[in-house]
Amino acid sequence: MLKLGGDIGDSSAWQGGLSALSAEVHDRASATSPPDTVAAFSGDSDLYVADFVYKWAPAGNPDQRNLKLQTEFFYRREQGDVALREGGSAALLGYKGRQSGWYAQAVYQFVAHWRAGLRYDRLTADNRLQVLETSGFSSSADAIAKSGFADRGHDPQRWSFMLDWSPSEFSRIRAQYNRDESRANASDDQWTLQYIMTLGSHGAHLF
């Protein structure tokens, strides 16, 4: 893990982070295979995460106006085998998967107590499977579908907009609108109104 950061003049500060995680995986089950099916992945898994935060406030004083930009990106690469069993049927599949996800958001306090924010989230997956050995499944496509490791050919994304008002350091009222395109052929419009309250002594002002 690596974190770096600094100031740009009196008004801006930034921080960036990078981390990498390598693992050798043995028999990790798929969460999306059908209930009577067992699919287990063994192989190499590498995860990379990058994040970046930028903050601005006039003369470094955020009381009235301030801006926070934030983005985070992750990328996972996996390669190995998937062992599949369903009743008396069995198959061995070669698996090569790449998944990535990121979000970017901007939150602007335009006057004391009031903030507006915009956020975009996206996930992508490119998973390739190849049947190496099979017995009992009707076709290669059937075995691949039942493994639960195939991608859906759809990249979920979401736009969010929020406006919040903080009458004090300990309470906040937030209105939020999400346009959620998680599902392949339908989008959801979500409206939420939240009241957020902090109890106990106020925590440190984290970057």
Partner: protein, 301 residues
């Protein structure tokens, strides 16, 4: 492979500050202590000041640059008494520098050497962001600056004995100049005694105490809570029967409530530097007090 690269990057990041500089490194939380540390150490130290006069020292974020500076510091000089409780503990923890933790020789809290005013009788969040140990805004009474100077001069000599004689000399010279200046200020400020004032935040208590100013109201309804229109209206009402000569605020505070009250009462609004760097005249501690008194005298009692 990638883990090995990252391991080396970590080592470089953590170790490079150690050999970087031979002179003493001082981390000052507020500009007044940065200026004082510079007066007392001269060439023997490099002083980093974590905040400016345009920032509110109650509310600072533990940004990466602060943590990096604290990591390489030999001495941290702060106000204490809870002023920095929202951010300094985190900076010290993240810095991972055992020389400057609270309770060590490398940490000096100025308020430990000054009799504090306004110790609250009870603690309740309903009273706002009250400082439990007493009012920490001690810097606008020059007698407090002298008390802290004596403690800081001693401490410098203790942690950097190689330059001990130099620190004692500088402290002696500073004390003499400061005492002479205090006599001058006392004379200049004599007409201000009893002057009625309104302030934005409870940050001028020690100055009032020193000069005998009479504080009639605070624009904040509770300490740390932004002025509300109902509270301003109440102050306006009170000023009709008991008028003030001036409405005082620090550079980091919102000018609009002060301006509003000025427009509705005709009482002059005044931005005082509050700390070193608060305006172009307050370039050092002497300038801070010279300029503050000049601005108050221009308005007059």
């Amino acid at each position: 492979m990638s883990e090995r690269i990252i391991f080396w990057l970590w080592c470089v990041l953590l170790l490079c500050p150690l050999g970087a500089n031979a002179s003493l490194r001082i981390f000052a939380c507020e500009p007044e202590w940065g200026a004082l540390a510079q007066e007392l150490s001269g060439e023997a130290a490099v002083v980093y000041t974590a905040t400016t006069a345009h920032q509110d020292a109650h509310h600072i974020q533990a940004r990466p640059s602060l943590i990096a500076q604290a990591r390489r510091a030999d001495l941290v000089v702060c106000t204490g008494a809870g002023l920095e409780s929202g951010w300094l503990p985190l900076v010290l923890r993240r810095a991972g520098n055992s020389r400057i933790q609270v309770g060590t020789k490398g940490f000096l809290a100025a308020t430990n050497f000054v009799p504090l005013l306004e110790r609250p009788r009870r603690l309740d969040r309903a009273d706002g962001d009250v400082h439990a140990a007493g009012n920490p805004h001690i810097q606008m009474d020059p007698r407090n600056i002298l008390r802290v100077a004596e403690a800081l001069g001693q401490r410098l000599a203790e942690i950097d004995p190689q330059h001990g004689a130099g620190y004692h000399q500088r402290l002696e010279a500073f004390s003499q100049r400061w005492q002479a200046a205090m006599q001058r200020w006392q004379q200049q400020a004599a007409p201000l005694r009893g002057m009625p004032i309104v302030v934005y935040h409870r940050g001028w208590t020690y100055m009032n105490h020193w000069l005998g100013l009479r504080q009639l109201a605070e624009l904040e309804p509770l300490p740390g809570v932004l002025p509300t229109s109902s509270h301003l209206a109440a102050i306006l009402e009170g000023l009709k029967s008991q008028p003030a000569r001036v409405i005082i605020r620090a550079p980091y505070q919102d000018p609009r409530p002060v301006q509003w009250l000025h427009e509705h009462t005709g009482i002059p609004a005044l931005e005082l530097p509050f700390t070193v760097g608060g305006n172009e005249h307050a370039t050092d501690l002497f300038g801070l007090f010279d300029n503050t008194l000049q601005l108050l005298l221009e308005i007059g009692p």
